[in-house]
């Protein structure tokens, strides 16, 4: 019973069902390849999802819509700086993370100094980041340096390297949320901002660091994704806007804030990839695939809410 009431369980169950339904069609062949692909592609969704989870935990109205633009901008600038030269992977990483840091601070400045609702602030800022990316990209497709490309598509102990990055990040976020003072502050702020402030939690510091973390996570995901797919493209981040919100909610994090759920994010990230490959292998067209994906997302949200009501 205690296991059944864990909110993260459902995203893993859903992922497992999608996995076995896909394999049911091939009568078990290609299980390893499918799992490997799910881990690779799921890793990017998981990394941005972890960031979005922290922001959503801050409470109602907190959501970062600038994730795709931050991903694109950091990937573009990092690849431009590396210029396909070998041994520049570290330089690129530093630049990508610095871009993320800058974007996060800029987002928070808009929210704090101009008192904008976060949705509008990150939306307006994302337009500016997108312009910067267009201006610096100019349609060039710079290949990532060879070593970096090998790393991002390679594997270690049978698991994709990008999945390792995502896993390590998830564990760090989990430990920080559960064990550190900052994590407790974040949860308290999300549960009730006024109460947290009166209890002496430095609420604005928590908000600032959260909005910075999500942008840094997004920039890391952008850097890895560009290395993984052989270059930065202007639309590379597009699908991660809805994806980042979807994995957080399917993963069992409360949209009302104050409760996060790290393992659920990974389960949901795997599920989002597996459900698409399941529908693909059953030969569904793009239209049917979208309708079913949407229906499944809503069904999971409804299932999660009725379960909560009973307990």
């Amino acid at each position: 019973m205690s296991l059944l009431s864990k909110p993260w369980l459902w995203s893993w169950v859903a992922a497992a069902v999608a996995f076995s339904l896909t394999l049911g069609l091939t009568s078990g062949r290609g299980a390893g390849e499918l799992a490997y692909a799910a881990l690779s592609f799921g890793a990017f969704a998981a990394i941005v999802g972890l960031g979005q989870m922290l922001v959503i935990t801050l409470g109602p109205g907190n959501v970062d819509l600038s994730i795709p633009a931050t991903m694109t901008l950091s990937a573009t600038l990092a690849l431009k700086a590396m210029g396909s030269d070998p041994n520049t992977a570290m330089l690129g990483l530093v630049i990508a993370l610095a871009v993320g840091l800058g974007a996060g601070l800029a987002n928070y400045a808009l929210i704090f100094l101009l008192r904008l609702p976060p949705i509008i602030a990150t939306l307006a800022a994302s337009l500016v980041y997108q312009s910067l990316a267009i201006w610096s990209n100019r349609g060039l497709r710079i290949k990532p340096p060879e070593g970096l490309a090998d790393f991002s598509t390679g594997r270690f102990l049978g698991l994709p390297n990008v999945a390792w990055v995502g896993l390590v990040l998830a564990i760090v976020v989990w430990v920080v949320l559960e064990r550190s003072v900052w994590g407790r502050w974040l949860l308290a702020t999300g549960q009730d901002l006024r109460v947290a402030r009166l209890a002496g939690v430095p609420v604005e510091l928590v908000r600032a660091t959260t909005y910075t973390s999500v942008a840094v996570f997004a920039s890391l995901a952008g850097y890895l994704l560009a290395s993984f797919s052989g270059g930065a493209a202007l639309n590379m981040g597009q699908e991660y806007l809805l994806m980042s919100i979807a994995v957080v909610v399917i993963g069992g994090t409360s949209i009302a804030g104050g409760y996060s759920n790290v393992p659920g994010v990974w389960g949901a990230a795997l599920f989002m990839f597996l459900v698409v490959s399941m529908l693909n292998s059953y030969g569904a067209g793009a239209g049917v695939r979208n309708v079913l994906t949407g229906t499944i997302i809503i069904a999971i949200v409804i299932a999660a809410s009725t379960r909560r009501a009973r307990t």
Partner: protein, 308 residues
């Protein structure tokens, strides 16, 4: 309450006026019937979509599926409504009813609207792809005529914006049911205590959003004469920005239909303004973001004075 805080409508009006003055200053030839028509041509569907979003924000929810929904309505208009008007009308009616059902389900099961509409955006987008896998279709003739009609004195887009603002103002601000609907956003519990069925009110608010979403899709097809499944995806964010520009708030049922229409006009004009500035295309999107930030900064004046 001081003057500015009470008259929040001043902010959208002033920002539209400033932007319009700047546009005329840079391109005096725009100051004509045809110039205005070109400037505001695409404003009608955006204004309708903004009103739709406002209906949802009015009851404290947010709709992330609006762009996909408007695209779907556009696809239905360009195919079914053109080929078989009766079937087309029935489909559009069904879309509005499904929006009402959505509102009822969200309220009854206490689901987060942001996530349900996120899921629905996939559903609408998928249905649109299903109806129109590749761009095409054609606008019904009467719709094309309606959208390109040339009324005396002011161009069609301006007249339509005034009509939309007037009708929604009467409906939301002046009428009894509109006041109750805003009350749902303000304090749903007290509305329920007063004997209203909140679930029906929410369904009504969502149905109104569906109606204006469908109208936006039809208006869009009337202007572009064809549709595709992704034609209006950017309307989701544009409509949210329009509502806030127009002086609306995300919570508390504080919305302004007139402001929302003016916000939509401002957003449309910002795009035209930037192309007059001969700004490099690289920077156009960014400049739009900058204008958005600038106008919203002006909100600070209203906010702080209101608090003091």
């Amino acid at each position: 309450m001081n003057f500015l805080a009470r008259h929040r409508i001043i902010l959208p009006v002033v920002s539209l006026a400033v932007l319009l003055a700047a546009t005329f200053w840079m391109q005096p030839r725009a100051m004509s019937y045809f110039g205005l028509n070109l400037l505001f041509n695409l404003a009608v569907p955006i204004a309708l979509a903004t009103i739709a979003q406002m209906m949802i924000i009015m009851v404290n929810d947010i709709d992330l599926s609006l762009g996909a929904f408007v695209s779907l309505a556009a696809c239905v208009t360009a195919t079914f409504l053109n080929d078989a008007p009766v079937v087309g009308l029935l489909i559009l009616l069904a879309l509005i009813l499904s929006y009402a059902a959505l509102g009822a389900v969200i309220h009854a099961l206490e689901l987060p609207a942001i996530v349900v509409t996120l899921g629905m955006s996939f559903v609408w987008g998928g249905l649109a792809l299903f109806i129109l896998p590749s761009p095409g279709g054609a606008s019904p003739d009467w719709l094309r005529t309606l959208m390109t009609v040339k009324p005396p004195f002011a161009p069609m887009a301006v007249v339509a914006a005034v009509i939309i603002a007037a009708v929604t103002h009467l409906l939301i601000i002046r009428s009894g049911i509109g006041t109750v609907l805003r009350g749902v956003g303000g304090n749903a519990r007290s509305v329920a205590r007063a004997g209203w069925s909140v679930i029906r009110l929410k369904a009504l608010a969502y149905a109104l959003a569906g109606l204006f979403g469908v109208l936006a899709g039809m208006a869009l097809v009337g202007l572009t004469t064809s549709a595709d499944a992704n034609i209006a995806l950017r309307y989701t964010l544009l409509s949210i920005a329009g509502v806030i520009l127009g002086g609306g708030e995300f919570t508390g049922g504080k919305v302004s239909p007139t402001g929302a229409v003016i916000g939509a006009l401002t957003l449309t004009l910002a795009a035209s303004f930037l192309s007059f500035m001969r700004l490099s295309p690289d920077w156009q999107i960014g400049a739009q973001g900058a204008i958005l930030i600038l106008v919203l900064t002006a909100r600070l004046i209203f906010r702080q004075k209101g608090a003091a």
